[in-house]
Symmetry: C2
Amino acid sequence: MKETPDFKKLFQPASMAVIGASSDKFKGGGRFLRGFIDDKFKGKLYPVNPAKKQVMGLKCYPSILDIPGKVDLAYIAVPSGAVPGVITECSQKGVEFAVVHSAGFSELGEDGKKLEAKLLKAVKNGKPRIIGPNCMGLYSPSAHINTVVIDHYPDDKSGPVSFIAQSGWVPHNVLQMGHQRGIRFNTAMSIGNQSDITLENLLEHLIDDEKTKVISFYIEGLKYASDFLELAKRATRKKPVIVWKGGRSNIGSRSVASHTGSLAGNNTIFEAAMKQCGVSIAYNIEELIDLMAAFTCPCLPKGTKLGILAESGGGAVAGADSAFEFGLDIP
Amino acid sequence: MKETPDFKKLFQPASMAVIGASSDKFKGGGRFLRGFIDDKFKGKLYPVNPAKKQVMGLKCYPSILDIPGKVDLAYIAVPSGAVPGVITECSQKGVEFAVVHSAGFSELGEDGKKLEAKLLKAVKNGKPRIIGPNCMGLYSPSAHINTVVIDHYPDDKSGPVSFIAQSGWVPHNVLQMGHQRGIRFNTAMSIGNQSDITLENLLEHLIDDEKTKVISFYIEGLKYASDFLELAKRATRKKPVIVWKGGRSNIGSRSVASHTGSLAGNNTIFEAAMKQCGVSIAYNIEELIDLMAAFTCPCLPKGTKLGILAESGGGAVAGADSAFEFGLDIP
């Protein structure tokens, strides 16, 4: 696996550029910028678009090279063919991280793979480190950044769960369903094709991240499976790790290939290896949320004995049957 | 099993009495009366309570015998000890059906069983036929009757599903969750202890009820199991029958005993017998709703091949995995 960077300037950037900024919030660049403004991002915000002088009330720059100050993080929402050129400029500018929202890379087959290789070659001197392409980026409530869910939350407090996904839809729904259940997140990320930054890098980071008490993933395919297992083994000694795997079935793995260009691999082997490392497996989004809720409970139960308090008889019967089927005992 | 009556005057009564009427809508008799008024029940409505002259703006009668006209259906919400006396009066009045909401009968052990036997003995000349005791009664949207869910629906249109349950909580939640899913009901009933009218009577009625396209049950215990199976066999030749059984586990069946005074029986035998009769089994409330939705779809699928239309890649992967695990094929 590639070296894991210090992610501080990704999760807590002092300045962000949106390259491909638009005043149409239904376009990627407009959606992100609108979100940063609405969420009251506290750092400096620079729209970049050679065709505009102002976007959403902010001064707009023709290129990232024209921005006067330093840029920690760039959100890139330009057509795929233009991405390598933009990345070269980000390198020249010394940008630390780039979230490449643009799709049309390895998920589209051979030509897309070539373009993704070109994107990586455009990185000079190791900067920027790339998240994506084909991703929705970051939810970091302490930094007022949320490009995962369009409408920001009235209550966007940080919490103990970190959730990393290759998909955009999954963290979007996990954030919404999780919030409804009372779960709060340290971060949630949609990392797409993993051209540079991979699940392994983020797992390595989260092991020692003090704000993260529960690590969780939606995985379509691992780039460095043996590294992941090694890191998971280390992680589960310190905190719970939950994995929901997409593409378990043949038809699911075909969908995976066209979604994030990943190879889903053999699920039986995947699961056995994960369990050996102490990872908890979720089989769908509801189970994922349930496990997050369970692992963030203030008191973990000491045994399998359960009491049920129910206002209704039918509810007590249904609860008792369900508890029994999950191996719980009602004395 | 006891004879199945013509249920017309239960589902479409021209007049109703609420015995134990109260102006406190948090008491049974107040709750029912409030519901009938709010739901704009179209027939005649008679509150009965010897201590009041008016309840909720309606003239109140000291006893059902003082009501001038005929009474088709009586809702009884008086303390359990007073129920047999009230039933005798209902018999004298010629009331067709009585819903006994009052609890404190066979679900409470030996003394309760004796009181329930006394209740049945109070019936003279076969009238009234009893629903309950220990039940919430009826949802019959075409008659504007709903004592199952406190707050009536803005859209309480009739539909093709009939649902009969021993519990009150289950139909309450089935109606609410079902409505959210777009399912509409011909009737839903909470029948409690089945002292007189049983699940078998209602199944026999629903087989030939033209408004019912799907028959569904929440069962805690059957009074006449072999009759039920015989009827289910007849019913499934005409329309789908869905059963969710409460008290499948030992602890669940203990809850059943204290809920509706039923014996839950051996679940393996129960399930095998149901399947032989062509009954579809649900294992929880969500599955019950899913089956109702499936059986009321306008076009039943002809095979196991499925297409998935999804806006998001992660949703397509999750859908494909889930479809595969349920034996569906995505060509």
